[in-house]
Symmetry: C2
Subunit: 335 residues, 2 copies
């Protein structure tokens, strides 16, 4: 499940995971158990597990540090911070959304209870800030993480509010994706360089690269949430539609005009979760409006913008190549 | 509701509250509304409110900065950070504990919903770290706050676990109080000096002073939770007993031996909340074991220890006097 064929994958295992484990050791045993379960390091009984995320954010953070000419290990605190922040948001979001499955496993709150999941999330975000603050001169990185965490929170609040609204615009939906997903990916691309004292032009360029990459990531994620293979994505089939989530393809379909869009809007108006046959109908309706294709094209456009930012940056060639590989992976992935 | 007759009260209004309001302005409007409601700055509709907490933590943080010879405004980031952290923990704890009333008002989750309360808490703890990180050289303060937040989390986890155990020892209970209450009060006493570059002996001495003060505070709080006047405390009468909380007087009564303690243990064994007459019975049983008096004496002992730490410190006299006044206030308060 880690990012395919990337040199960064082994660096995550070599540098980042040990650093995160040392940070987790600061927690009391109860919170540590929940936190490490969420991180994918062990099962609910503490036995070793192999079910981690894609490692996208730490990979970007390590490359961000290397973009300044630093060794990969200089980016480890940034990589640890963004992976911890990501898992903090997953822990809390799964509680709020009532999601019961993630990465082919029961979500933490279903295993340990809601309070334990809230507390473990609180513990992870604290460790993230500490990881950055412990680097001499890490103040700017802490401030940047603060901005991204605020965006995460704003995005999640918007996402929750969307569930009770039937007039969500496409712009609102894209802004929500920018907050909930792209901000932390952008932060991952910026924090390593920031921590290594990289020039402002480099930090800003990497940040913009990450923002477009993050939007492409979310657009692809929304497509996979409807048409992805549950055996690959680790999420139940049609879960986004079942929960009547107003994802980008859905909002594009509903707001794009036309009969299929209006029928979809009607289906979404019922307060209950969608049944199996309604999920299948909604899926077909979205495709009929052209919203699947529109989302694909928008993802391609964001990918191109990310590539253009990358091309304009002054970077070591191996870093540029790896960031380009990640960009290709994100657009082509099936999970 | 602010700390009585203290010079620090006006400094909180002059320096700290404006600083916190500026930090809250970084939030989106939805999260800002919930956060400011929790802080006591406005009502649920955004109209101005006057129902803030005691301001104990920010007062200590300002004095901590002044202990180094600095002006009070040098301690503002520390004061803001500890007040934000305190309210982060209240927001999340009220969700976990299912508490419906605080400071004479409905708790945030009952007004805005559980998800909004979780998100606003997440936002506040982020702002707390930022407030410290934005001070040049604030890294050590961020690390110290991290330690105290971890203690808060560990304490809350223990408190929740106690509800499902009938073998909680007095030592465990005192350790929980140390984590859940005393750690952040200790941090409040240390962070201002730390941020102003005070010598290690001063920071450590203030930290120890705050730890004993915090234990005294919690012991008094536990007494008020049973025998306090709800019109003064802002909490429903007997709420701790009703929820079968294993507070220090209760655990002392149960573990102290004797018939009244055994009867109390029996009462606590039922899984349901205690009814009105059971609350009255439990209250009388605790008193009969001598646990009320024991808790009073323990509070007095921690207060004396705090005073001894204070006496040993090299401090400007007006700072020593104000810290002594706060110590007196904490032991004698009725809310």
């Amino acid at each position: 499940m880690t990012i395919a064929h990337s040199h960064s994958t082994s660096q995550i295992h070599t540098y980042v995971e040990p650093a995160i484990r040392v940070l987790l050791d600061r927690l009391d045993s109860g919170n540590r158990l929940v936190a490490g379960y969420q991180m994918g390091y062990w099962n609910a009984d503490g036995s070793p597990a192999v079910c981690q995320g894609k490692g996208l954010r730490p990979a970007l953070a390590l490359l961000s540090a290397q973009a300044t000419g630093a060794e990969p290990d200089a980016g480890v605190p940034a990589a640890a911070a963004v992976e911890l922040t990501h898992n903090f948001s997953l822990l809390h979001d799964d509680v709020m959304d009532g999601d019961t499955e993630r990465r082919h496993r029961p979500t933490a709150w279903t295993v340990f209870g809601v309070s334990s999941a809230i507390l473990a999330g609180d513990a992870l975000i604290g460790l993230a800030y500490e990881a950055l603050a412990e680097v001499p001169g890490g103040g700017a990185a802490v401030r940047r993480l603060g901005l991204d965490v605020r965006a995460l929170i704003r995005g999640q609040a918007a996402d929750l509010a969307f569930e009770h609204r039937d007039d969500v615009t496409l712009d609102e939906c894209l802004a929500m994706a920018g907050d909930k997903t792209a901000a932390l990916l952008s932060g991952s691309c910026a924090l390593g360089a920031l921590l290594c004292g990289g020039p402002a032009a480099l930090v800003d360029g990497l940040s913009r690269f990450g923002l477009h990459l993050g939007l492409a990531f979310q657009l692809v994620d929304d497509l996979l949430g409807i048409w992805g293979d549950p055996r690959r994505t680790g999420k139940p089939v049609g879960s986004d539609l079942r929960a009547r989530k107003r994802t980008i393809p859905v909002v594009r379909a509903v707001t794009g005009g036309g009969r299929a869009g209006r029928t979809l809007a009607e289906l979404y108006r019922s307060p209950a979760p969608l049944a199996d046959d309604d999920v299948a109908r909604a899926t077909a309706l979205i495709e009929a409006t052209g919203a699947r294709e529109w989302t694909r094209q928008r993802a391609a456009r964001e990918t191109e913008r990310a590539r253009a930012e990358l091309a304009a940056l002054d970077l070591p060639e191996h870093v540029r190549r790896e960031l380009a590989d990640i960009t290709t992976f994100i657009t082509g992935r099936d999970h």
